[in-house]
């Protein structure tokens, strides 16, 4: 039932809005609204009950194991939320003078310094509001760098075929042509293809390391050399930073610009799909191009650096300074973990992934890159199972929901057929992983004994399989009264 269907004309709340209406007779009639908007007329209790019940129809980290590959669904500590929501932080206006926000700005400055250290980069700006916007900022800086050097011929960005879809989409948004290069059979970028692809048109290479195939690019130093010798820059998509945090710094791998998904590695909430936050780190040569604003410390006072001081900056990416509340949560998280906790993130994320990979292999699942170590994630391919039984990766994913587990990422990366990308994250216990393996074994048995049942999953959820084709063909995007 929709919130609108709980509504009755004339029902309203009395405590949440001003007690009366006020005068607006100085506004000309032709600028006024004539028909009231379709907002529900419901009581406070109706609202609370309706949205509480809706929440209960979601799987979440707080309620289920959520091994969604490439998304780093780790526990979001409650202290981070509680302390970021102290009323002074919430009530601070973005345009309030800097001297009324020294406490807040201290957190932002320290977060910049911490991220600089963790990534090995020369500068950090906290401005981008999501991973995709971090990518946009990074690729815009690559473009600005070449143009500042009078080089307007670099029109291509190289992207491996295993990359996130945001990488090629971002390159196009920045006015570049995308050159895709293949992956070799061990899961590394095909080095010869890279060598053939680089040249005077190469603006840069976008790379995730460890890659979305769940393996570390062993030839990263050589790749860095090849791209740099051709005059290009190296972009690090930080989606998988959780796997190497405290072990390898992107700066040491030769990257010129990186983004860090705080909603993954630094455990800020995914919130049903945002808000994210993606600070970017840059090597020294890209410092002048960083987006504004970012925080500096001068004579014991924190202040914003503006575009007037950075004439080569790529500019503003948001109306204010990015997702401050998300940044506060990330700051609290790193302070809770501390120096010693940084290394442990990668260690236990990697331990969990390799353990789960070993256990799933033992019960009969095929691993896509069996000779490689898992990073913090790995890929199972169901190609043979599908060929033999007709049961697909998506069928298995839906059956997992029935057993109380969120599904792994399916059909990504697209170059592995019938794949499941599984990322357990460091906050899960061995007992949870063992229970998941048991559920996967049960499904394997079900595939053998009653494949049609698995094909028609889910069976125990509030709804059965939903019709995506009907949704796209007979668009119903808004409720209409009487519909």
């Amino acid at each position: 039932m929709l919130i609108f269907e709980h509504a009755r004309p004339g029902r309203r709340n009395y405590s949440q809005a001003p007690k009366t209406s006020a005068s607006f007779d100085d506004i000309p009639d032709h600028l006024l609204r004539k028909k009231q908007p379709l907002l529900p007329e419901v009581s406070e209790m109706d609202t609370v009950r309706h949205y509480t019940r809706l929440s209960q129809k979601n799987f979440s980290i707080d309620t289920e194991f959520y091994p969604l590959g490439s998304c780093t669904m780790k526990y979001n500590p409650r202290a981070c939320n509680a302390l970021a929501m102290l009323p002074q932080y919430l009530s601070r206006h973005p345009l309030a003078p800097e001297d009324t926000g020294q406490g807040f700005l201290a957190c932002m400055y320290e977060l910049q310094e911490i991220l600089k250290d963790v990534t090995g980069m020369a500068g950090i700006t906290l401005a981008p509001m999501a991973g995709a916007q971090g990518e946009l900022a990074g690729v815009m800086m690559i473009r600005a760098y070449h143009e500042a050097h009078g080089d307007f011929e670099r029109t291509e960005i190289i992207v491996p075929d295993a990359a996130h879809g945001t990488n090629p989409a971002t390159a196009v948004m920045c006015g570049f042509k995308v050159v895709e290069i293949p992956t070799d059979k061990e899961g590394n970028v095909d080095l010869n293809a890279l060598k053939a692809a680089v040249g005077p048109k190469t603006a840069g290479l976008m790379l995730t390391n460890p890659s979305t195939l769940g393996v570390f690019e062993e030839n990263i130093a050589e790749m860095s050399r090849v791209v740099h010798e051709a005059g290009g820059l190296l972009y690090y998509d930080g989606a998988n930073l959780n796997a190497v945090l405290g072990k390898v710094k992107p700066g040491d791998m030769g990257f010129d610009v990186i983004h860090i998904n705080l909603h993954k590695t630094f455990s800020t909430p995914h919130g049903g799909g945002g808000p994210g936050s993606a600070p970017i780190g840059v090597a020294k040569r890209l410092l002048p191009f960083m987006p504004v604003p970012f925080v500096t410390l001068e004579n014991g006072k924190y202040r914003w650096v503006t575009e007037q001081e950075r004439p080569q900056s790529i500019g503003h990416l948001s109306a204010h300074m990015g997702n401050a509340g998300v940044l506060l949560r990330a700051y609290i998280y790193v302070r809770l973990l501390g120096r010693e906790g940084m290394n442990r993130i990668a260690e236990f994320a990697t331990l969990n992934a390799n353990y789960l990979m070993a256990e799933l292999r033992k019960i009969g699942f095929e691993i896509a890159y069996p000779t490689r170590r898992a990073s913090h994630e790995f890929i199972v391919t169901m190609k043979d199972i599908k060929d033999e039984t007709g049961v697909t990766a998506m069928n298995l994913a839906k059956r997992l929901l029935d057993k109380g587990y969120h599904a792994p990422t399916t059909y990504f990366p697209i170059l592995v057929p019938e794949c499941l990308l599984i990322e357990p994250a460091e906050t899960e216990s061995k007992q949870t992983l063992d229970a998941f393996v048991t559920a996967m074994k049960e499904i394997l048995d079900e595939i053998e004994q009653q494949p049609d049942m698995v094909k028609n999953a889910p069976h125990n959820m509030p709804l059965r399989k939903l019709d995506d084709v009907k949704a796209a063909r007979e668009l119903d995007l808004c409720w209409k009264p009487g519909a």
Binding site: S21, P37, K57, N58, N81, R92, A132, R143, G165, G273
Partner: protein
């Protein structure tokens, strides 16, 4: 170990299963010369009690102020239920609803949000949100160029939020799209039709129309919309969602309505929070639906014919279309939209209208009282919504500094973005201010000028 549950026994068993001697051995594919690098700037970890003390100290250092700054972010009362429900773990710690059957809560909420926003803006459809108002405008400009096909020029009046203009320029200029700024009338504070007439038919992809504009002033939206359409250009409304409870929605502007409506969603239950996270909203006519970026939720049926909700029109998006997507945008601002949807439900049409009328009346009262002070003048003659520009007889910066000493953030100094508007403040008094607050402000203001 904070947030890591492994016991020594677990670790030993797991390593045995993998066949590795140590956890460090799991990193043996990383070339040795890349490894290491000690962390110098990361301090040792704190307990929850210690970080609580630190964050409370810093919050206390920042304190509380009576806030009269608007300029794109507005203080409104947020009902207690909004964030209590929004931060339930099932909303807070879930991800993008890729597995529809396990995400019906988020999906249905987003469908309800789309319904509310489409109605509030008077448009046919809404997406599931953008990052913020500024990026929503940039995406609307890209969308207009995609659908116009022959022109790559966007007209943006100088009465549009100055940072929105900068963001739009930064984002669209990579795609060889030209942003042309249109001057405003210094008396009315509005865009004048005459300043648009220099632009020829078919060489404008879209005209951006703010309502209210950055000065709080109400624009002649009907005439501007009709002008855009007469030039075969799209009309993009940039609107304040609180104001929409009172003002004519973009879908009803002019003869046929604006084509795209965008804006900053923050006033709908999102705390000011130093500028984010907020959310941008975007709604459009049916004819533009395949050009809209971002997530869209559709209603459909399950195998038994029961109604349910899914992400739809995904063929526009980066994870399917890659380099041919409508945008690189990956997520929306799900949690912020959760809060806004609960906010709109709690207020309802009448409550939101009360918030709008009180914000208008309070600012009107403030302006009336301030302009009674000798030498203080209202800058623009046109009607305003809930903020307005006043000119001071002396330094605006000094006045703001003195007000601040008395716990008042007195407004936004317009000279920062409009050098011609010397000693001019943009002030805003929402429904959160009482008559006594306003009188206190006026009295402090009087002293600050003397």
């Amino acid at each position: 170990m904070p947030f890591i549950p492994h016991t020594e026994e677990d670790i030993a068993e797991m390593l045995a299963s993998i066949g590795a001697d140590s956890i460090e051995a799991l990193f043996d594919e990383i070339p040795a010369d890349l490894k290491g690098g000690t962390l110098k700037e990361v301090p040792p970890g704190l307990s929850e009690m210690e970080i609580t003390r630190l964050m409370m100290e810093r919050a206390g250092q920042d304190g509380f102020y009576q806030n009269y700054i608007g300029a794109g972010a507005y203080e409104h009362h947020i009902p207690a239920a909004v964030w209590q429900i929004t931060t339930r773990g099932e909303f807070y710690s879930s991800y993008t609803p890729y597995q529809a059957e396990a995400s019906q809560g988020t999906l249905q909420l987003l469908y309800e949000y789309q319904t509310m926003m489409a109605s509030l803006t008077g448009m046919d459809v809404s997406n599931a949100s953008m990052y913020d108002g500024a990026t929503a405008l940039a995406e609307a400009a890209l969308m207009a160029v995609r659908s116009h096909k022959s022109s790559r020029r966007i007209l943006i009046p100088e009465t549009v939020h100055p940072v929105y203009r900068k963001v739009a320029r930064a984002i669209v200029s990579n795609q060889k799209i030209e942003i042309v700024e249109v001057p405003f009338d210094q008396t009315s504070g509005q865009v004048r039709l005459e300043s648009l007439d220099a632009f020829a038919t078919d060489d404008v992809a879209a005209l951006v129309i703010p309502q209210p504009n950055f000065f709080g002033v109400l624009e002649q939206v009907d005439a501007l919309t009709d002008w855009a359409h007469s030039k075969n250009a799209l009309a993009i409304g940039v609107v304040n969602p609180t104001a929409l409870a009172l003002l004519k929605p973009p879908g009803e502007w002019g003869e046929t309505g604006a084509d795209i409506a965008v804006g900053e969603g923050q006033p709908l239950g999102i705390p000011l929070s130093s500028g984010g996270p907020y959310f941008g909203f975007m709604a459009c006519k049916n004819s533009l639906i395949r050009q809209i970026p971002g997530r869209i939720i559709g209603r459909t049926n399950d195998l038994d014919g029961k109604p349910g909700f899914v992400l739809t029109l995904q063929a526009r998006e980066q994870h399917i279309r890659r380099s041919k997507a409508t945008s690189n945008i990956c997520t929306n601002q799900g949690l912020m939209v959760t809060a806004a949807t609960i906010y709109m439900s709690l207020l309802g049409p009448d409550g939101l209208r009360r918030v709008a009328t009180h914000s208008h009346a309070n600012t009107s009262s403030l302006i009336k009282k301030l302009t009674a002070i000798p030498g203080v003048e209202q800058v623009f003659s046109s009607p305003f919504f809930h903020e307005a520009a006043i000119k001071l007889p002396s330094s605006a910066a000094n006045a703001l500094a003195k007000l601040k000493q008395n716990g008042i953030l007195g407004g936004f100094n317009l000279q920062a973005h409009y050098p011609e508007l010397e000693n001019t403040l943009l002030v805003c008094a929402t429904e959160t201010k009482t008559e006594a607050d306003i009188d206190n402000y006026v009295s402090q203001f009087r002293q600050a000028l003397s």
